[in-house]
C-alpha cells in the first residue's frame, strides 16, 4: 500500500501538512509535519517523509523535472543531516510517515480535496 502523488493536480493549499501535524501532535504546525509541499510557479510537489539517514549524500544536484530545473534535495524523501525538513523543529528528532497507524488511514489523503494524494494498493 502506498500514497500516490499527482503533482499536476496539487494546488499548494498545504492542508496535508496541517492534517499531518494535527493527527500527530494535536496542534497545527506545518513544521512538525511528515509531508511537505514544495510550492513552485508551474506546479506544486508534495513529498512524504521517508527513512532517516545518518549521513548526507553527495550524489544529489540539479535535476530536470517537467522541463524545469529542480534541486534533487527537494524531491528526496530522506530525513538527513543536510536538511531541515522532516525533523521536529525543537528537538531535531527525525520524522517519518507512519500512514497514521494500523490499518492505514493517512490524514493527508483524507484532507486532500483535489485528490492529488490517493491511497493505492499495489
Amino acid at each position: 500500500m502506498r500514497i500516490k502523488i499527482d503533482h499536476k493536480i496539487c494546488t499548494g493549499c498545504k492542508q496535508c501538512e496541517i492534517a499531518c501535524s494535527l493527527a500527530h501532535t494535536g496542534s497545527v504546525n506545518p513544521w512538525r509535519s511528515r509531508i511537505r509541499v514544495f510550492v513552485g510557479e508551474e506546479f506544486c510537489l508534495p513529498v512524504i517523509a521517508g527513512p532517516y539517514t545518518e549521513a548526507a549524500c553527495n550524489s544529489k544536484g540539479i535535476r530536470m523535472a517537467e522541463g524545469i530545473e529542480i534541486d534533487a534535495c527537494v524531491i528526496c524523501r530522506a530525513s538527513c543531516p543536510a536538511k531541515s525538513v522532516y525533523k521536529e523543529p525543537d528537538t531535531g528528532i527525525p520524522l517519518k510517515c507512519d500512514f497514521c497507524g494500523e490499518p492505514p488511514n493517512p490524514q493527508c489523503v483524507e484532507w486532500c480535496a483535489p485528490n492529488a494524494l490517493t491511497l493505492v494498493e499495489d
Binding site: A19, L22, P30, W31
Partner: protein, 605 residues
C-alpha cells in the same frame, strides 16, 4: 491559549524598534480578530481626522483565531488603516501564505507606527524581528522585490527550499512608493490587499515589505472534534460539487454569467454587457487560453485562485488571476475584449502594485472624458478611446506619476473634477465601483452606497439570501449580509467560500472548536453589527456623513441596465431605519447602547 496567541507585535518605524504586548482580553471577546480588532485599535489609537499619508496613521496587519488553524479557507489577513483614497476606515483582506506565517510566528496583530527615515523592509521569524535597509529595493516591481527578499532571507536565516516557498511576503510596488492613492499591498506573487489604497500608506511610512516565516503552532481546543467536523464539511462540499467547480473555474465562471444576465460593468457603466465578452461566457475557453495551474491560498481546499500566462516575451512571468473583478473593470469597463490584453493590464497592475478595480474605473473615466471631448489629446499625448491599448502606457504613468498620471494618482474625484465632469468617475467615496452593475439588483446599489469603506467588492456584495429580489426584504438582507461579512472578516474566514446561507453557520462552528469558547450565531451577528457601527463612528469622526452614502448619478438617474435606476433615496430611508440609525445616517443612542458602544457614541456625536 487556543486559537489566539494573545500577542501584539508593535513596530515603531521612526525609532526602528519593536516590542511585544499582550492582546487585551476584551478585544478577543468583543472583536474576535481581523477586521474587528483592526477597527477597534484604529478607533482607540488614531485621530480619524489625520492625513492618511502622515506618520500619525497606523498600519495594522491582523489575523484571527482561525488563521492557520486548518479550518478550510481560513488563511486571510486583514490590513487596517485610515484610507488615503476614501478618508474612511479601510480593511482590505488578502489571501496567500502571509497571514498564516504571521500567526505561526506567534502574533495575532502586527502594528506599524510612525515613519522610517530611510526605506526599510521588515523580516519576522518567530521572535526574531529585524529591520533591514531597503534602498536597493526601492523602485523595484512586486515580483522582483519578492524574489530579492527571498534570496536575502535564505542567506540570513539559512533556509531550505521548502521554508523559502512557505513564507509569506507583503510588499508594495512603485505605485505605493509614489503614494498613488489607490496603490495596493501586494502579497505572494500577485495577491493583493487592494482596495482603499493602503499601499500608499505603506509607502508613506517608507516600508517596502514585510516578510514573515513562522515555525510555531496554533493550538486547537478540541482537535478530534475539529477534525471530524472538517471531514463532514469536506463530504458535504464534495457531494454538492463545490470543490470541483471552485477549483476548475474559480471566479472565471462569473464574467460569463454577468455578461449573459446584462449585469456586467461595461464602458464606464454605460452598459451592462460587452459584445466582446460573449466568447468568454464559457469559462473553459478562458481556462484553455491562459491557465498555468490552480493555485490555492494556504489551507484552502477550494483553490479558486488561478495562475496564468500569456504568450508574449514582454510579459514572461506567470501572474495571479485575472479574477472576475479585474476582467470586468480593466476589461469590459475599459472596452477591452481580448483576454490577452486583460492579462497584460492585470500583470501591469500587479507588478506596479495598484488596485485593479479603482485603476480600471480611473482609466474608463479617462476614456469617456476623451471620447466626449473633455480630455484633450494634448494632455495625454495619445488617443484613448474605449478599447485602446494605450491604457497600458497610462497605467505605467499613473504608477510613476508621470505626465497626466500625476493628477490621476490623486484619485478619480480630483481627476474628473479637473476636467469638469466629476459625475463621470464611477466611484463611491472615491473608490471605484466593482464588477457587478448596481442597476442589475437594487440591493446591490444599496450595499455599495452604504459600505463603510467605499465601493468595495469584499465588503458589499451580491445579496446572498433567498428572496433577495423580494423588495419587502432586501433592505433587511443587505444589513444581514454586511454584518455577516464583518463577522467572517474577523474570524478570519474567506466569506467568498462561506457566503450567506451556504455554510454561514460554519463560522461559529469553527470558532467553537478552535478556541474552545462557544460562539452562537446570534453573538456573531451582534459582533458584525458592532463592527459596522464602530466603523460608522470612525467615519463620522473623519468627516464622512450620510450624504456620502451616495451613488454616481449615472446609477440613480440614467437607466442603463434592464431599464432601471436604483431608487437610492427611498432605500436609504428604509436602510437607516433597519440599522437603528436616524434619518441622516447617525447611529441612535439606543442602538449604540445595545451594542455596548455608548461611550464611543457620546464622544463622537
Amino acid at each position: 491559549m487556543f486559537g489566539w496567541h494573545g500577542r501584539i507585535l508593535r513596530i515603531d518605524l521612526t525609532r526602528g524598534t519593536s516590542r511585544v504586548e499582550p492582546l487585551p482580553a476584551y478585544l478577543m471577546k468583543y472583536y474576535i480578530g481581523g477586521r474587528g480588532m483592526g477597527v477597534r485599535i484604529l478607533f482607540d489609537e488614531i485621530d480619524p481626522r489625520i492625513d492618511a499619508l502622515s506618520p500619525a496613521n497606523k498600519l495594522i496587519f491582523a489575523t484571527g483565531p482561525l488563521t492557520g488553524s486548518g479550518a478550510p479557507a481560513a488563511s486571510r489577513f486583514i490590513v487596517s488603516a485610515k484610507s488615503p483614497l476614501s478618508n474612511c476606515v479601510a480593511s482590505p483582506c488578502c489571501g496567500g501564505y502571509f497571514g498564516a506565517n504571521l500567526k505561526y510566528s506567534g502574533y495575532d496583530l502586527l502594528i506599524f507606527e510612525g515613519k522610517s527615515p530611510e526605506p526599510v523592509y521588515v523580516t519576522i521569524m518567530n521572535d526574531r524581528v529585524e529591520l533591514h535597509p531597503a534602498r536597493h529595493l526601492w523602485g523595484k516591481v512586486a515580483s522582483e522585490t519578492e524574489s530579492t527578499i527571498r534570496e536575502e532571507m535564505k542567506k540570513l536565516y539559512d533556509l531550505d527550499n521548502w521554508a523559502l516557498n512557505s513564507m509569506g511576503i507583503a510588499d508594495i510596488g512603485p505605485a505605493g512608493e509614489n503614494l498613488v492613492r489607490f496603490a495596493a499591498i501586494m502579497s505572494d506573487g500577485g495577491r493583493a490587499a487592494g482596495r482603499s489604497g493602503l499601499g500608499a500608506v505603506m509607502g508613506s511610512k517608507n516600508l517596502k515589505a514585510v516578510a514573515a516565516l513562522g515555525t510555531g503552532q496554533v493550538n486547537i481546543a478540541d482537535a478530534e472534534g475539529f477534525r471530524k467536523a472538517v471531514m463532514a464539511f469536506y463530504k458535504e462540499a464534495r457531494d454538492i460539487g463545490e470543490f470541483y467547480k471552485r477549483r476548475r473555474y474559480g471566479t472565471w465562471s462569473l464574467p460569463g454569467r454577468a455578461n449573459a444576465s446584462k449585469s456586467q460593468a461595461a464602458y464606464n457603466f454605460k452598459a451592462g454587457y460587452s459584445e466582446a465578452f460573449v466568447k468568454y461566457e464559457d469559462p473553459e475557453v478562458i481556462r484553455d487560453l491562459i491557465r498555468v495551474r490552480d493555485e490555492a491560498c494556504f489551507s484552502c481546499p477550494f483553490s479558486c485562485g488561478k495562475r496564468s500566462r500569456i504568450k508574449d516575451p514582454k510579459y514572461p512571468l506567470t501572474a495571479k488571476g485575472p479574477e472576475h473583478e479585474t476582467m470586468a473593470l480593466l476589461g469590459a469597463n475599459c472596452g477591452l475584449g481580448n483576454m490577452e490584453d486583460i492579462c497584460r493590464a492585470n500583470y501591469l497592475c500587479n507588478e506596479l502594485g495598484m488596485d485593479t478595480i479603482t485603476a480600471g474605473a480611473m482609466i474608463s473615466c479617462a476614456m469617456e472624458l476623451f471620447e466626449e471631448g473633455h480630455l484633450p489629446e494634448a494632455d495625454l499625448g495619445y488617443p484613448l478611446e474605449f478599447g485602446n491599448t494605450n491604457m497600458f502606457e497610462l497605467l505605467t504613468q499613473i504608477a510613476h506619476r508621470q505626465g497626466i498620471g500625476d493628477l490621476m494618482a490623486e484619485g478619480g474625484i480630483a481627476f474628473a473634477t479637473k476636467y469638469g465632469h466629476p459625475e463621470l468617475f464611477m466611484g463611491i467615496k472615491g473608490m471605484g465601483i466593482p464588477a457587478w452593475h448596481p442597476q442589475a439588483f437594487d440591493a446591490l446599489g444599496l450595499q455599495y452606497a452604504t459600505c463603510s469603506t467605499g465601493g468595495s467588492h469584499t465588503k458589499a456584495t451580491m445579496p446572498f439570501y433567498e428572496g433577495r429580489k423580494d423588495p419587502a426584504h432586501f433592505v433587511e438582507f443587505t444589513k444581514k449580509d454586511q454584518d455577516y461579512i464583518a463577522a467572517a472578516d474577523s474570524g478570519v474566514l474567506c466569506w467568498i467560500i462561506y457566503h450567506g446561507p451556504l455554510w454561514a453557520e460554519k463560522l461559529s462552528e469553527w470558532l467553537t472548536y478552535v478556541t474552545g469558547i462557544a460562539q452562537t450565531k446570534e453573538e456573531l451577528d451582534r459582533l458584525g453589527e458592532r463592527i459596522w457601527n464602530l466603523e460608522r463612528l470612525f467615519n463620522m469622526r473623519a468627516g464622512i456623513t450620510g450624504k456620502d452614502d451616495a451613488l454616481p448619478p449615472r446609477i440613480t438617474k440614467e437607466p442603463r441596465v434592464k431599464n432601471r435606476v436604483v431608487p437610492l433615496d427611498k432605500l436609504l430611508v428604509e436602510y437607516y431605519e433597519c440599522r437603528g440609525w436616524d434619518q441622516s445616517g447617525v447611529p441612535t443612542r439606543k442602538k449604540l447602547k445595545e451594542l455596548a458602544l455608548e461611550k464611543e457614541g457620546d464622544e463622537t456625536i
